[in-house]
Amino acid sequence: MHDLTDLYQTVILDHNRRPRNYRVLPTANRVGSGNNPLCGDEVTIYVELDGDRIKDVTFQGSGCAISQASASLMTLNLKGRTIPEAEAIAGDVLKLITSGDVKDDEFSDLSALAGVHQFPARIKCATLSWHAALNAVHGEPAPATTEKTSD
């Protein structure tokens, strides 16, 4: 319980060290951004939407290992999905991150995020890129933020 390796699983450390799809996507037709004003994490998601399908998705940004790994895993898991599929996956992952309950082993690498729920201060790090990706896919212009923004 609350063991550090619950949070920093090998998968996470690996994705943090070598984030996948960490680049601007020149063919992107949707962009979503997100930030955590309390700690300064920022992420931008680039999506190439082909009709209903996420043809490609990449990200850039700065943040902790959890947020980088979560974004990296997000790109791998949403690429090639239709919007409804992506929504379903994102919903399951957000539930997983906040509850820790792994539904079944349909999540392969994503279950590495299950340990985050034991670290309440880090949950927002893990969820940020998923919210930003949903925003991109939905064409929501406002940045996702862990606190919602106004000005």
């Binding site: 309390l38 201060a121 880090r122 606190e147 923004t149 106004s150 000005d151």
Partner: protein, 410 residues
């Protein structure tokens, strides 16, 4: 929380003392209430175990402090039956809450020709912020009068003639701190809604004294002081309906209320964070939530019944057993606040003499100068009852008042 009406006085350490040789009879509850041991313990526990700054922290103490602070927000939302915790802003007290609305909502939304409606019984804290706002914006003040005489009830017959479409905001007290009058808050809010006016309720004297349901009342804003409801000093609540808070600019600028800051401009966090600049009063917010638990353990219906019963009893006894006394406020259907004047004895002398008998009263204008002038009184003495007061204490009050009267008559 296992608050119980039996042995309730033992929950309040301060009551167990002698003043000028007599057991303390604390009847100054409208000024501030005493604190049960559980509230004091919550402060001690926080400082001895969990103290850390909130929100921005990732270490264990900060996580604990943040969790307790945000749990207090949820507790407050439940206490006031707000729509969500995001409708709860922690402030320094009722005065601070009202100033927040007057600045953040008022400066943005009022202009020349608009009217701010108040009532003649408002506390200075629900009058001066609006006077200042009127000065800044050119809006005008208007007052709903009280009926002639000493009951101090609002003259509801005049409501429709003062609550006109120029009224943009109607701020009124739920319970008068001088008269003990309980105003028909839901009716006033419904009437305001009809002309499109927002409502601000000063609940300083009602939160912790009566059941208080913001959604049933239908108000837009509601202001509360922790120290008047068994909580610590220095903390209060502003309830505001979410769409209003979301669209208001901030009041104070600083840490924690921002989404992003650059050297020349900033973006704000969403409410309620937008209105909580700087390190909040963490310990006292947690203490306030404990006070809410304590009060709900006893039941706010039961507290209101207890206060009203004591007040009606005291009112009746005083009116008959202290010849010549002038009683203010209604005889019944009232809160636990009773103001009175003794002929020939100034309020300050009454309070000093009662204090010799161990009885804590208040004397003066009670931050109600205009109301006192209207009633033709420079000051009154005030006895205000709360959950720990007893009928035996009323007997001591009556005896003391009779003695005082004799002292000045001699």
């Amino acid at each position: 929380m296992n608050a119980s009406w039996k042995n309730l006085r033992a929950d309040f350490p301060i009551l167990d003392q002698r003043i000028n040789g007599q057991p303390l009879v604390y009847l100054d509850n409208a000024a501030t209430t005493q604190k049960p041991r559980c509230v004091i313990d919550a402060l001690v526990r926080y400082y001895e175990r969990d103290n850390a700054n909130v929100h921005r922290g990732i270490h264990t103490l900060s996580i604990r402090a943040t969790a307790a602070y945000e749990a207090a927000r949820e507790r407050s939302a439940k206490f006031l039956n707000a729509g969500s915790p995001a409708e709860i802003v922690f402030t320094a007290g009722t005065t601070d809450s009202i100033n927040l609305v007057a600045h953040a909502w008022g400066d943005e939304n009022l202009k020349k020709g608009d009217v701010i409606l108040l009532t003649e019984m408002e506390h200075h804290s629900n009058m001066v912020p609006w006077q200042l706002l009127a000065r800044r914006t050119g809006a005008k003040l208007r007052y709903l009068p009280i009926v002639p005489g000493d009951t101090g009830l609002l003259d509801l017959d005049q409501l429709s003639s003062v609550l006109t479409p120029e009224v943009k905001i109607f701020a009124f007290t739920h319970v008068s701190n001088t008269l003990g009058v309980i105003n028909p808050a839901a009716d006033l809010c419904a009437a305001a809604k009809k002309v499109g006016a927002l409502t601000v309720i000063d609940a300083a004297q009602s939160a912790g004294h009566l059941p208080l349901d913001t959604r049933a009342i239908g108000c837009d804003f509601l202001a509360v002081s922790g120290h008047k409801m068994c909580g610590p000093t220095g903390v209060g609540v502003l309830y505001g309906r979410a769409p209003l808070l979301d669209n208001m600019p901030p009041y104070r600028g600083g840490g924690s209320m921002i989404s992003s800051v650059e050297y020349f401009e900033s973006k704000w966090a969403p409410a309620p964070a937008k209105f909580e600049a700087g390190t909040p009063n963490i310990a006292d917010v947690i203490g306030l939530a404990t006070a809410m638990d304590y009060l709900d353990g006893l039941g706010r219906e039961a507290i209101a019944r207890h206060d009203e019963k004591l007040a009606a009893h005291a009112y009746a006894r005083m009116a008959t057993e202290v010849p010549g006394i002038r009683m203010l406020g209604p005889a019944q259907h009232r809160s636990g606040v009773i103001s009175f004047a003794l002929p020939g004895a100034h309020a300050h002398d009454v309070v000093t003499l009662a204090d010799r008998d161990g009885i804590a009263l208040r004397g003066g204008h009670h931050c109600n100068q205009p109301l006192m002038r209207k009633l033709g009184l420079p000051s009154t003495a005030r006895a205000s009852f709360y959950l720990y007061n007893t009928e035996a204490e009323i007997e001591r009050l009556i005896a003391s008042l009779q003695k005082i009267q004799k002292f000045f008559a001699e």
